[in-house]
């Protein structure tokens, strides 16, 4: 079942529950507009139509409205975000996407092959936010006083004496008017470090939240005090558990990608040629550690953290060497994070389900990784955490 259908089905079930049992602010659900497809006689959407949703994200005029001397009838799609009103007469799911689906049709489905820019912008091919601007902050590509492109051979935009030509201009009024190019930054200029960042700008060594040492031997601060944590003391589940200096999990684990797959492989594992080259979850283990554990190349082993465990094919390799940390030998293993049930043979396929031509095997690395965010970007700290590797009981 496609994601949209699942959401739609969930919506109707939750709505029913609210109607039967009530609850705080129940109207937020029971009175919600849900008309994203052709409806049955009972008023329910029979099947979801992505075009209805795309139009809603773009936005409609909710009543007749005159803007800049032109009348827009109720129900007309809003041409672009400059036309969105603050008086309740227009709607938009996301202003960035206003202009993506207009009365001219689905802009994202355009296939115009012309490139009038000469630098490969192909502005009539599909659409991009905002307002089909292909290169954001393109005002930075011209001299702010004269409007002449810094690279005259490859102009993104240029001032022809009376208007801007090229890409949809960003952050530029007429040349010389003093408007800075980076309109979304508080100072209007690009910056490496600036207001609003929790951590930086100087580098410092901290240990990961889950680590094999009790002391940071390079500074008195063990872990970064500004990291983003979602777990709260006294709440949470086993996925929030941590195991620093825990003898049950003495091995450092890192995660990474392979060239053949992207993220959890939801797209790439359906491609038979890619699945064939990297068909399963593996764990790379140094020769010394494999010897200690009695693990042979190619056998399936268990990689276990305090949060969960995954099966993985052991790749025993000379490329992984143990660390010497303050006189102690600490081993490291590595796992890719691309796998999981969606194209595996074990998954239950019902009638009509698409089956992959080449199956992939194994679990997602997310089962063992911790949930800690980088202070600035909130990117999870999945590069360093603690595990154990065990032979599977036969």
């Amino acid at each position: 079942m496609p994601d949209g259908e699942i959401i739609s089905d969930l919506f109707y079930r939750i709505k029913e529950l609210y109607e039967e049992e009530g609850g705080p602010l129940k109207e937020a659900v029971t009175e919600m507009t849900w008309d994203y497809g052709p409806k049955d006689v009972d008023g329910k959407v029979r099947h979801l139509d992505a075009h209805y949703i795309a139009r809603e994200i773009n936005g409609y005029f909710l009543e007749d409205k005159e803007i800049k001397g032109k009348l827009y009838k109720k129900g007309t799609l809003v041409p672009s975000f400059a036309y969105l009103q603050d008086d309740g007469s227009t709607s938009s799911g996301n202003w960035l996407y206003c202009n993506s689906y207009t009365e001219k049709g689905n802009m994202a489905a355009r296939r115009g092959g012309k490139d009038s820019s000469g630098i490969g912008l192909y502005s009539e091919w599909a659409w991009c936010w905002p307002v089909n601007r292909r290169i954001i902050y393109n005002g930075a590509s011209v001299d702010p006083e004269t409007g002449r492109p810094w690279d005259e051979k490859h102009p993104v935009i240029f001032w022809n004496g009376s208007k801007w030509v090229g890409d949809v201009p960003d952050g530029v009024a007429a040349p010389g008017s003093g408007r800075p190019p980076f309109i979304m930054k508080s100072h209007g200029v690009g910056s490496i470090f600036g207001p609003g960042l929790a951590d930086g700008p100087f580098s410092e060594h901290y240990e990961p939240l889950e680590c094999p040492v009790e002391k940071n031997i390079m500074s008195p601060q063990l872990v970064n005090p500004t990291i983003k944590r979602w777990d709260k003391e006294g709440t949470g589940t086993s996925v929030d558990a941590r195991a620093t200096c825990d003898p049950r999990f003495p091995i450092i684990c890192s995660t990474y990608r392979v060239s053949e797959h992207w993220q959890t492989g939801l797209m790439t594992r359906w491609c038979p040629w890619l699945a064939e080259m990297q068909p399963s979850m593996f764990v790379e283990i140094g020769v010394e550690l494999a010897k200690n554990k009695g693990i042979k190349n190619g056998e399936i082993v268990i990689v276990k953290s305090v949060r969960g465990q995954v099966d993985a094919v052991a790749i025993v390799t000379n490329r992984w060497k143990p660390f010497n940390i303050n006189g102690n030998t600490v081993h490291e293993v590595g796992i890719p994070w691309h796998y999981g049930w969606v194209t595996t043979k074990m998954r239950e396929y019902v009638h009509g389900d698409k089956k992959p031509e080449v199956f992939t095997f194994g679990d997602s690395a997310n089962i063992v990784t911790p949930f800690i965010g980088d202070p600035n970007t909130m990117i999870p700290e999945s590069k360093a955490f603690m595990v154990n590797v065990e032979r599977r009981e036969v």
């Binding site: 392979v258 060239s259 053949e260 038979p272 040629w273 890619l274 699945a275 064939e276 080259m277 990297q278 068909p279 399963s280 593996f282 190349n297 190619g298 056998e299 094919v313 052991a314 790749i315 025993v316 390799t317 000379n318 490329r319 060497k321 031509e357 080449v358 199956f359 095997f361």
Partner: protein, 265 residues
Amino acid sequence: MSEKIKLCDLSKCTGCRGCQLACKQWNQLPAKQTVNTGTYQNPPDLQPNTWNIIRFQEISDGNGGVDWLFRHDACMHCTDAACVKVCPSGALHYTKYGTVALDSGKCIGCKECVFACPFEVPKYDPETDKILKCDMCYSRIDNDMEPACVKACPTGALMFGDKTEILKVAYERARELGGDASVYGDKFVDGTHMVYVLPEKAGIYDKLPEKPRVPLSVIAWKDWLKPLSLLAAGGVIAGSFLHYITHGPKDTSGDGDQVSKEGGE
């Protein structure tokens, strides 16, 4: 028509396997179910549906250091090709570029080439009873395009062009690399049309013979005895022709009538 060769500079290969996939895409070769056997190398070897692979190999430098070697393995397109020599049906043949192409329609599945090839390149497909291998993307090179693997290579490890020009590049690169680096391919079987720049000694690489040669048995049968057999075959044809001249064509019309009568009864 000048000879074309593919250069494979292993010092520039990152093992991304873009070449392996691009080959399958251009030639529409299906993927088959695989399992991880404890290596990145997959499929494990060249197959009827896999005409080039990256071989992954770890070597130790003896000081605790390790080198991870990636080798693009595909047909070498020999000038004195054992496969063409043994092919009885003419399916394997030389092209005007000096490469070795394959006319599948003519292949009778005899597997002679599988045993003759010093690089173990041609693979037999029991499902279709045919041999399959890299044809250096003849459909592309005959239209002034480089082979699909070369097109896909993001680092410039694969290059394609006129033989003299590419060999010059190869020797310059080997000199630049120094140490054990060498050019592999132009000195045996009258020169291959895939040539390597090997950063390590040739003998180190898995499945890459140091001194490849056409098997002696192939030479004995095909170079010395085949001319004799042709002479004999020519005799048979000449005899038949003589028979035709003296006796005229065989009359089969009577037999045909008989069959249709039987069918009607």
